[in-house]
Symmetry: C2
Subunit: 246 residues, 2 copies
């Protein structure tokens, strides 16, 4: 009983310490982007937005001021979250930049790598003859753009990697290439059910290496990530803003 | 009161006559199609499926045995309708052929004109260098395929034309080119709100010319179309099946 009381005491201390540590502003991106081909056609991807929306909801539930920049999804707005809806990658980057400065950015959107060069203002017609080809040009890389900012770089930038092969190897390389702090990598091969599904098997990749999380719901992934974020900002010396404020 | 009773009598006669005329099987296609680029990306279009689903619901409400072959939409299945869900144009054509013989086909789906040649089984990677181009190949033309069948051509084939310019001219040409009986043409230029919206302004194009319908809800369009279908099958000589049965 004494032990329980002591444990309870330290839990309470720990919880209140967490709360004092998370006076932070978070930005989450979620969903796919739609890249126009012409007025009626576009390139999309199979992201449902469930993981990003769950993260925004989990952050808000912990009292963190959260903005969600979301591509087109059918999901309801998470409670207590400021939601900004966009379509294309360019619109998403612009909306993110408008939110700076922030403390933590979680880039969970499946941003299209490419958009169509010279997207048409008239519908492409089959009758005009010949088979069209769509020339693609690179979209802005939102994760890299936020991670590599000279000014107003968030303290913590978290990315996702959707891979179909060599999941951990590709995601570890992606973390370094993008300059973000953490990567949550998952396998989206057809048949894994990750895109559009309820569950995710995450490889959590940081400076310290790779931690394999068990197969869990997207909501559980969101809560575990938010735990990690809160811990990160609770460790002295890792939170530059708090140090500056002290 | 006598007049009312007479009116009621003729209404009842008229309704029961309609019911005796519509012992028909209908097939409706609805929604967009999704054409894969790789395991996570695809080409889509802005069709919501609302018009096609409304037509299927209106047919079923009139006691017509109705099958709906639907591309990916978020709409609930219409009541009393046999719904078959597909993704790509090739899957949609195959599902339609499986439904033959039928009496009336209403092709309201916004079927992708093209699919990506050699769609990849691995996710396209930005790092492999260079800008990709997507080579497109023509999809099966479901409206034309059904309209031009030698065997089991439905008595009545109805198509839609989504146009951004020269709406009536393009749609009139489309009716002849496809070999269908009726075309419902509408203007889907950006700003008209037709794709994804609740209302449609229809130009109803038949052998007899073009009839401009007032701006009305998609449900009202569906009901007016079903009225026309029921009338068509009620006019002696236009319904080959009934003649054969007599």
């Amino acid at each position: 009983e004494i032990l329980e009381a002591v444990n309870r005491h330290f839990q309470i201390v720990s919880i209140s310490k967490q709360h004092s540590d998370i006076n932070k502003k978070a930005l989450v991106t979620s969903g796919p982007t739609h890249e126009p081909i012409d007025p009626v056609r576009y390139i999309a991807n199979r992201s449902s937005g469930r993981q990003g929306h769950a993260i925004a909801a989990a952050l808000a539930a912990r009292g963190i001021e959260t903005t969600l920049v979301s591509g087109p999804t059918d999901l309801p707005d998470p409670k207590g979250v400021n939601v900004i809806r966009v379509e294309s990658a360019e619109q998403m980057l612009s909306a993110c930049n408008d939110q700076l400065p922030i403390d933590v950015a979680i880039c969970a959107a499946a941003v299209a790598d490419w958009r169509v060069k010279d997207a048409g203002s008239q519908k492409m017609k089959k009758e005009t003859g010949g088979l069209p080809t769509l020339e693609l040009v690179e979209n802005p890389d939102i994760l890299h753009a936020i991670s590599s900012r000279k000014k107003q770089r968030p303290d913590l930038v978290v990315g996702f990697a959707a891979e179909t092969e060599n999941v951990v190897k590709n995601a570890t390389a992606k973390r370094l290439r993008k300059g973000c702090d953490w990567i949550l990598a998952n396998d989206v091969s057809i048949g894994t059910g990750t895109f559009g599904g309820e569950k995710n098997a995450i490889h959590f990749i940081t400076d310290d290496g790779c931690e394999d999380w068990p197969h869990m719901t997207k909501q559980a992934v969101a809560e575990r990530l938010v735990d990690s974020i809160v811990s990160h900002f609770s460790v002295p010396g890792k939170d530059k803003n708090s140090e500056a404020a002290e």
